[in-house]
């Protein structure tokens, strides 16, 4: 009787069955206290998730947003020649005023580089090292970056300095004798188009997997 006294509250009537394991009654897989603890934590966890998950999704959503395709006219076809670049300014991101504008250097396609003369080449000024604005130096027929000394040749291929790949390009098209500039794309060292990547990231071969393409960038042409 003495060993069951704690479960009988001092009554000396018939003994209750001895719980096994301690704290559990016959046939119970879980004690009342344990069940309430689990239920309490589950409700708390659910309430926490209801608050945290939307907040995290809210902060991460821009990564998965499909970009709008913007095309903007930058001048008549007669303005651009095959032997040199002309700078054009257009809006890259809408809604933030001057900060959303960027410069590109545009020329006519040249058979010398295996391009059709009906096509137009638009080179981005965003340095492939860390994104500073490069400038086209007509006398040297090359692009030069002011920040860390990257130099690119006439086609935008790396001549020297820290850049990891040629300069990015923009898709171009001609509508009613107007040259239009569209989505940005990156190129490999052989100038094959790939999906746009941030500066500082290599392109081509295994690098396409080490720097995976992002869903918020337009597909390569």
């Amino acid at each position: 009787m003495a060993d069951a006294a704690d479960k009988t509250n001092g009554r000396t009537g018939e003994a209750l069955p001895q719980p096994d394991p301690a704290g559990y009654f016959e046939g119970e897989s879980m004690s009342r206290r344990r069940a309430l603890t689990v239920a309490g934590q589950a409700v708390g966890g659910l309430a926490g998730a209801i608050i945290v998950l939307p907040a995290v999704g809210f902060a991460l959503a821009p990564i998965f947003k499909k970009p709008d395709e913007l095309w903007e006219s930058v001048g008549p076809t007669s303005r651009f020649t095959a032997d040199t670049y002309k700078p054009v300014v257009f809006t890259l991101v809408e809604g933030i005023g001057e900060a959303g504008k960027t410069t590109a250097f545009v020329r006519q396609g040249s058979p010398k580089y295996g391009e059709k003369s009906s096509d137009y080449v638009a080179i981005s000024t965003r340095c492939a090292h860390l994104g500073c604005p490069v400038n086209f130096v007509a006398a040297a027929k090359s692009f030069v970056c002011p920040c860390h000394g990257g130099v690119y040749d006439f086609e935008g291929k790396v001549l020297g300095g820290p850049p990891v790949r040629p300069l990015d390009r923009f898709q171009t098209r001609v509508v009613k004798d107007q040259v239009q500039i569209g989505p940005r794309y990156s190129v490999t060292s052989q100038l094959e188009p790939v999906r746009y990547r941030d500066p500082g990231e290599y392109t081509g071969g295994i690098w396409n997997y080490i720097y995976p393409p992002r869903p918020d960038t337009p597909p390569a042409p």
Binding site: P62, I63, P67, V93, A99, G131, E201, P212, P213
Partner: protein, 267 residues
């Protein structure tokens, strides 16, 4: 039989109760007022137990040889406080929209009374804070104060250093001039060069593939809400561990080998 009060010599007199000079409130009508501050402190202490907490915090034992190098942590805390206070006042004038940010900073600097001074405190204070953190860290390293049982406090301290760097990085964009814009472009792209996660990290920082309408406000929120909250919480943990574990003596101080300690060691 009660002896008349006047006959008892002063040293043998029963002490008066507080607030009573000679009889209830006798003599000094201002006595209850004079007791008021002590009563207020007592009222608070009775309900919060703050007195013993403050005693433990402020009158804790420090080792022999404690010197000016031990004040670098407090100096860093002071620098953080300056940043927090000046930051609050800058936020009253700052407008985190890409079209208005530069104009609001110009207005704050040129037109607002003492605006240039407060902005200067925030700008230079940021550098001072980083310098003080490094000096504090060097003191901890050179004195060996990171060793058992204080490793966790070292880890918290390094996290605080990183968070302070994040503050510097996000705060640099806010004036939104050419320098801060391009410096942030470069900084975000350096983040992007990390393999596998880098491209997504820079997308998260920019709120998209390009610097967009949400980028500046995102940096602003990180700069003035997210990271300061984390820093304050971690400073609390850092100080708790300092008080709990105590500070270390400088390495050039060895415990004196008195006869008693030597004998103890031999036993």
């Amino acid at each position: 039989m009660k002896i008349p009060d006047a006959l008892i010599p002063p040293p043998l007199k029963k002490p008066h109760r507080p607030g009573e000079e000679a009889g209830p409130n006798g003599g000094d009508p201002l006595a209850p007022l004079k007791e008021a501050p002590a009563d207020l402190v007592g009222w608070l202490d009775e309900r919060t137990g703050g007195g013993s907490f403050l005693t433990g915090l402020l009158y804790r034992k420090v080792p022999k040889g404690t010197n000016w190098f031990y004040t670098l942590g407090s100096a860093t805390l002071f620098a953080f406080t300056v940043q927090a206070v000046t930051g609050v006042f800058l936020a009253m004038f700052y407008d985190p929209s890409p079209t208005q940010a530069y104009a609001s900073v110009t207005h704050l600097t040129n037109d607002v009374f003492l605006g240039e001074f407060v902005r200067g405190m925030h700008k230079w204070g940021a550098s001072v804070m980083i310098i003080l953190i490094y000096l504090h860290m060097a003191r901890t390293f050179v004195f060996g104060a990171y060793k058992y049982p204080r490793e966790l406090n070292w880890i918290i301290g390094v996290t605080l250093l990183i968070l302070t760097m994040v503050m510097g990085f996000t705060g640099y964009l806010l004036p939104f001039d050419q320098r801060s814009f391009w410096a942030t472009v470069v900084g975000v792209n350096i983040n992007g060069t990390g393999p596998f996660v880098g491209p997504y990290l820079s997308d998260f920082l920019r709120a998209g593939a390009e610097f967009g309408p949400a980028t500046l406000s995102r940096f602003y929120a990180i700069h003035m809400l997210l990271v300061p909250g984390l820093i304050i919480a971690l400073i609390g943990a850092h100080l708790y561990l300092v008080v709990k574990l105590g500070t270390t003596a400088p390495p050039w101080l060895r415990p004196k080998r008195t006869k008693a300690t030597v004998r103890e060691e031999r036993v």
